[in-house]
Symmetry: C2
Subunit: 504 residues, 2 copies
Amino acid sequence: MPQPPAAFTELKLRLEKIHDLDRVQAVLEWDQWVMMPAGGAAARVEQVASIERARHERLASPEIGDLLEQVRPYEDSLPPDADDASLIRVARQDYEKAIRVPAGLQGQITRASSLAEHTWETARRRSDFSLLLPRLQEVVELKRRYIECFDVAEPYDALLQDYEPGMTRAEMERPLEQLKQRLVPLAATIAERNHGVDDSCLRGRFSLESQRSLNHAILNTFPMDSSWWRLDSTAHPFATAFASTDIRITTRYSGSDISVGLFSTLHEIGHGLYENGVDHALERTPLARPASFGLHESQSRMWENMVGRSRPFWRHFFTPVRAAFPTQFVGIDPETFYRAVNKVQPSFIRTEADEVTYDLHVILRFELEQAIFSGDLELADLPGAWNERFKALFGLDVPDDARGVLQDVHWAEGSFGYFPTYSYGNLIAGQLWQAAREAIPALDPQLAQGNLTPLRAWLRENVHRHGRKLTASQVVERATGRPVEVKPYVDYLTAKFGDIYGLD
Amino acid sequence: MPQPPAAFTELKLRLEKIHDLDRVQAVLEWDQWVMMPAGGAAARVEQVASIERARHERLASPEIGDLLEQVRPYEDSLPPDADDASLIRVARQDYEKAIRVPAGLQGQITRASSLAEHTWETARRRSDFSLLLPRLQEVVELKRRYIECFDVAEPYDALLQDYEPGMTRAEMERPLEQLKQRLVPLAATIAERNHGVDDSCLRGRFSLESQRSLNHAILNTFPMDSSWWRLDSTAHPFATAFASTDIRITTRYSGSDISVGLFSTLHEIGHGLYENGVDHALERTPLARPASFGLHESQSRMWENMVGRSRPFWRHFFTPVRAAFPTQFVGIDPETFYRAVNKVQPSFIRTEADEVTYDLHVILRFELEQAIFSGDLELADLPGAWNERFKALFGLDVPDDARGVLQDVHWAEGSFGYFPTYSYGNLIAGQLWQAAREAIPALDPQLAQGNLTPLRAWLRENVHRHGRKLTASQVVERATGRPVEVKPYVDYLTAKFGDIYGLD
């Protein structure tokens, strides 16, 4: 291996400090959603903006540009997989992206989104899209100007690539269209035979204190050092990492439905295990983060669904659940609980959807986003378009905007291009799950003993450790031998729900 | 009023962003001590350092220097008390201080202190000062280099002025020496008559959950909007503010002594009320912070002691205490509780000291600090010097270093010049308390009804709202008509403990 030149050492040092600022922003955001008293809101907006500005200035600086030029010969002398070559490659992508967007525009987007997000809360509460419309128009207008900063084949590509680097709209559309074609009939067949799945055991009165202890107890059996994470509750659960050994997981408890907290926690610990699993040698470099939102989501969905909604998992973990709420689960066995947490039922709210209908919610949003940015759909017509397509996909009439177009904050906060990564994550999860099962023949009995270590080790080795050294599609190809496909995930769903619902 | 020039607007904008970084550092530190899992420690050191570096670069920049020159005519055209004139004056002080200390030296101090702080934990646990000695020598050596950056009459002045801007060692020594001359005989007289005060009701078994509810319930009756603060527990309690409406109070509960949590909370809410009371119009300017550590401490000590250890206060607040622990307080009345929380007893640990002996602990440290930096005391001789002076002041033999020279983290973390502000704060508290009592004749009956609003209003008007617009001594002079004196505080102590202990 050639010795790194001084310019590389200098570049790395600067990138470390930029990374620190990036993680500090994560601290501010976590505190904001999990800890901050309401009085802190106004100052926090400014604090986040000041850190963002400091970070952007340092990244989009002539010094970084010069250093990136100086290290080209060193980069070319290394194999592309080498840590240093990967660091330079990824830093160059970040730099080239940063210099394209004027700091002023980024600031305008942040402010407009923040305003729209606040308006969204009111609009959703009153179920009145017209309140949000002007704010949303402003956000979309700014996003169009954002798109113009990039040299992309289609406008939507620039949005998507904030979440799924390197991917195009067309590349995303193909698999999600296939997925839709498979899910619509599957959901319809299950709806016809919707009998035999009783989820009433999930409803009742569950004290928050006992739920908190239960969720902590479950996570404590997970293969992640207890000094590396904490679990808190918040209105809209998320996971974040201030370092690979400082993981913050959040969850949300419902006093009347035990599944809300359990599956929020299992989803977020999936994200947390990924963040924690990135090779610790990459710490404080641009490689220390996950490769894409889709790959990140594949990990949360795998732990939530493939693991967390599996029969073997509950064979083990139903014991602590029953111990926490003994009177609630009199006469309930693990199999009943397993079926209950897998009940399929078309519904209006994405975040409450079962595995079979979930992606239809996502695809609906993906289609509408594309129509907005291709110019085919006026924002004023968004609620009508939503309700029409919803009827076509689910066979249900949307009763009001709160249960329709206003249910998610994403668009108000300017996160266009984010939704499809949820379904893309499911596809990846299906494919990785298939590969993991082949690689670990004893996976089911292990899960049934509460032994999550072998699966975690496989994921760390094949997915987590790479950080941003590999792209999401490179990770999938290396781990499974094939590009991202639809079939493994559909096969997984068909087999699982075929069994539960007695389909042929 | 003249219109502010463009340079002032630009200066203010830059200072706002610097202020944001300063408060972000406070967020990182709060999280570190209150929330962070142990695994986050290494990354957090770097994150704090990167923010500190970004803040220092922005403050000690030629641009700020130029702008400060450009606004001189505007500053001179205003009365010194005007917000804008104060802002320029204080910003110039901050700037001139920042440019004197090379970023490299500041970084070395931060790292050496961080290392010494970790070593201190081990040294204290093993009660072995020799473990700490080399680290402490390094810190003191760097602090000597820090002192050399300043043009001061005596080396110690440069240290003291980090906490008490503008004050000299000589100005601090005079009142503290007087105070010592009064406290030593007072403590001795009380020790002779130490009978009749039984504090056994404070000891027992107090569930942390009930203490938490009790402390929250007490704070909820305080005159500060509940959306402006939160209370958490931590090993070494402190208060901080991320904005004047985002106050973080921390406390520490003992399962066997109810007074630990109660008085930590009352102390820290005193700090919090000050931070919250700064004129909100000063938000995000260099004026938005408290004037000095001494003035800050005067507020915490006033709420902890003058209010929180007063007879009228417990006439009201003993009710919720008894309600939280009904079996513990059978047959105990408010007067017994009042006397219990005021028991005077010489002891080894500063943070557990009563009001009469507390300042003797502080003065001991102040004297030793001065000897270290005047060159009269070698660090290797520090434990011996400590024990000798302790015997002279308290009449007790220090049994080991853990209960002697190793008990506080301050020196290890490089906080020389901090200790005397504790006693200076007590003096100010005594003087302000006297003035407040004169201004609010019904103060005692108000406290006895749990009505803290008039006192808070007086403090806000006379102390808090000024932020850094006035110095600590200006605040005291305006509020009380006199410079800081020793007599009011000694009079307060003599009257209070004379009554409790039946002295003449």
